[in-house]
């Protein structure tokens, strides 16, 4: 705290106007020239971490590819396949070669990005919404609301979410789409978010500012929304980043198992499943989509990891 200075306040008074008291010195407050809070601290920490920048740049790049695939490849991924080039290696204009069906691998990898990202984002949205509602209400109101909500969470938690998604997608095989698969994954993935938020809300609820808010007559729901929630959301942000990665893996796994998206969708999981029969003859058709999938998942996990360290002093100490 070398930048701290003792300032005699001139305009801001916390106790009483300075001329009303002879003890002006009492009124002096320690003012750091830099404001500080959890988020600013976290940002200062993040700024200096190369892993944050690497994962951030990768994610921006992947999002860019997902939004504008046509900037990267002019070859259509699906309707220009020729069996005459089946399993061929790279050739000019087709840097990653061809699949068994004679489709351009590079184009399929590029067009697969948007599917993975949209499933990931939708699942994250579902998980965050349900998890925050359940966790916040259970933690803040306690009592029977807590018991009921958390027992419901226990039941959803007890079914591994990929298995649940396998069941849902098997039953709803006629309605396979990005929305349905996101719902199938998200419906069973939220309890861990709810649990984490609940324990954080329980901690924050004890703070003096919450008591002050209640004492000032602010309603319970208002207190929860404007004081408790913003102060307990940090761990949720970390889980959310990691759950985005988990959702992308889940979609690929489901597509790989054959209960994910129909083959008309560009999906890395579908491509990996289709390429497994060519593993001996042309392993690269399997490697490229796998690499794209792994790098995407890795960037989100890396981002989550760095944010966790930045927001959690205990994790920083363990480094």
């Amino acid at each position: 705290m070398s930048s701290d200075t003792i300032q005699t306040p001139t305009t801001t008074h916390y106790v009483a106007p300075i001329d009303e008291t002879p003890l002006g010195a009492v009124d002096a407050v320690r003012v750091s020239d830099k404001a500080s809070n959890l988020w600013l601290d976290a940002w200062r920490h993040l700024r200096g971490r190369p892993m944050f920048w690497i994962s951030g740049i990768l994610i921006v790049f992947i999002v860019f590819v997902a939004l504008f695939p046509d900037l990267f490849t002019s070859v259509p991924p699906d309707n220009n396949c020729q069996l005459s080039v089946s399993n061929d290696g790279p050739s000019p204009g087709h840097p990653m070669g061809f699949t068994k069906q004679g489709c351009d691998v590079f184009s399929r990898v590029v067009h697969g990005a948007s599917t993975s990202l949209s499933v990931g984002l939708l699942v994250t949205l579902i998980v965050a919404t349900v998890g925050i509602i359940f966790g916040a209400f259970a933690g803040f109101f306690g009592g029977w609301i807590d018991s009921v909500l958390m027992r419901v969470g226990d039941i959803f938690f007890a079914i591994p979410y990929i298995l649940a998604a396998v069941v849902i997608m098997s039953v709803l095989s006629a309605y396979r789409s990005v929305g349905v698969i996101a719902l199938a994954i998200g419906l069973f993935a939220w309890p861990s978010t709810a649990r984490i938020l609940r324990s954080e809300v329980l901690r924050v609820k004890q703070s003096d500012f919450v008591m002050a808010s209640t004492a000032l007559g602010v309603s319970k729901v208002r207190t929860m929304l404007s004081h408790v929630l913003p102060n307990s959301i940090a761990p949720v942000i970390v889980v959310t980043t990691v759950s985005l990665a988990a959702a992308i893996t889940a979609e690929a796994t489901l597509s790989f198992l054959g209960v994910g998206l129909p083959s008309s969708f560009m999906s890395w999981g579908n491509d990996i499943a289709a390429a497994q029969t060519s593993l001996r003859t042309n392993p690269m058709t399997l490697i490229w989509p796998s690499l794209a999938l792994s790098i995407t998942v890795l960037s989100f996990i890396m981002l989550g990891e760095t944010i966790r360290e930045a927001l959690d002093p205990k994790a920083r100490a363990q480094r």
Partner: protein
């Protein structure tokens, strides 16, 4: 301890009914004839529809249907696969192989994960620690089927160190490669958890005390640090059992291991939804039982847990 055991048993009952109800609900709350929905875009023959209607008591109210289904499960009746084989028989035939694979995988995961975690936790910030962090980060990011295919291709096909697919009877030497693949998913979690608990334990006064008494490193590390660090690892094993189930399905499918996972894998691929539902139900129940056992074990290992509330 008896009170603790009793409490845990009572807690699992609502979860058991809740999960089975949820699975049943997911299947039979679909609009239209749920039996037709189970077949997706295929049309089953009339006899199969008839048989499923009778099996699931579809003329009865929903809640009665559910109780018929539950009593069926409790009596070991899990329905038939499309080929006419009872699902319970399929499970009995394939379970020993999966058990062998899972025990092998968990052993690898524990031995490698705990020793790597211990080493990096004790030498925090060292070269081993730094590289372990990077390796586990990559391991966490790689989907299981990518690890399975790459190791099948590199180790099985290119190097020829192991058979790329498991031979008949699933001899143990053929299971080593699939077990390593299966272990790799939770390996990173075990390593990181061990590392962070070792770091936490290391800060405790009893560790300082042990060194202060003049005990050697060789004595303090296994008896004081490691033993206390293993408790959270035990719970994480149970929590990750779900990942192990999914991982076994994918691994057994890829390496052609004749276990429960491959049977589920084939049922999923063939679109046999009723078989899939039966398998998932059994695995969820198994998951609950494993978690119960580990919880009880946890109470045995850590007396503090027993006396809460």
């Amino acid at each position: 301890m008896t009170g603790y055991i009793l409490r845990r048993f009572l807690q699992i009952i609502p979860v058991f009914f809740g999960t089975t109800f949820l699975i049943y609900f997911m299947v039979f709350a679909v609009p239209g004839d749920p039996v037709l929905a189970l077949f997706g875009d295929r049309t089953p023959n009339a006899a199969v529809i008839e048989q499923l209607h009778i099996r699931y008591h579809l003329d009865q109210p929903f809640i009665i249907q559910y109780f018929y289904y539950i009593s069926g499960i409790l009596q070991g009746d899990l329905g038939m696969s499309f080929s006419g084989q009872p699902v319970s028989e399929m499970l009995a035939a394939t379970f020993p192989v999966t058990l062998r694979l899972a025990v092998l995988a968990v052993t690898i995961e524990l031995v490698v994960g705990v020793s790597a975690g211990l080493l990096s936790g004790l030498r925090k910030g060292g070269i081993f620690d730094a590289s372990a962090l990077v390796v586990t980060l990559i391991l966490i990011s790689l989907p299981i089927f990518v690890i399975a295919f790459v190791s099948q291709f590199v180790i099985g096909i290119q190097l020829g160190w192991a058979r790329p697919t498991v031979g008949p009877g699933a001899p143990i030497q053929d299971l080593i490669l699939p077990a390593i693949v299966l272990a790799s998913i939770n390996l990173a979690v075990v390593t990181r958890l061990t590392r962070s608990t070792v770091i936490d334990t290391n800060r405790n006064d009893f560790v300082r005390m042990a060194y202060g008494k003049g005990l050697s490193h060789r004595r303090v590390v296994p008896t004081h640090i490691l033993r206390n660090s293993l408790i959270p690892v035990t719970t994480s094993l149970a929590a990750d059992f779900g990942i192990l189930i999914v991982g076994a399905t994918v691994t057994e499918g890829i390496f052609n291991v004749p276990g429960v996972g491959r049977a589920l894998f084939n049922a999923i691929r063939l679109g046999e939804a009723p078989t899939v539902v039966s398998f998932v139900t059994v695995m969820v129940i198994l998951y609950l039982i494993v978690n119960l056992i580990v919880d009880l074990l946890y109470g045995l290992l850590d007396p503090r847990i027993r006396y809460v509330k």
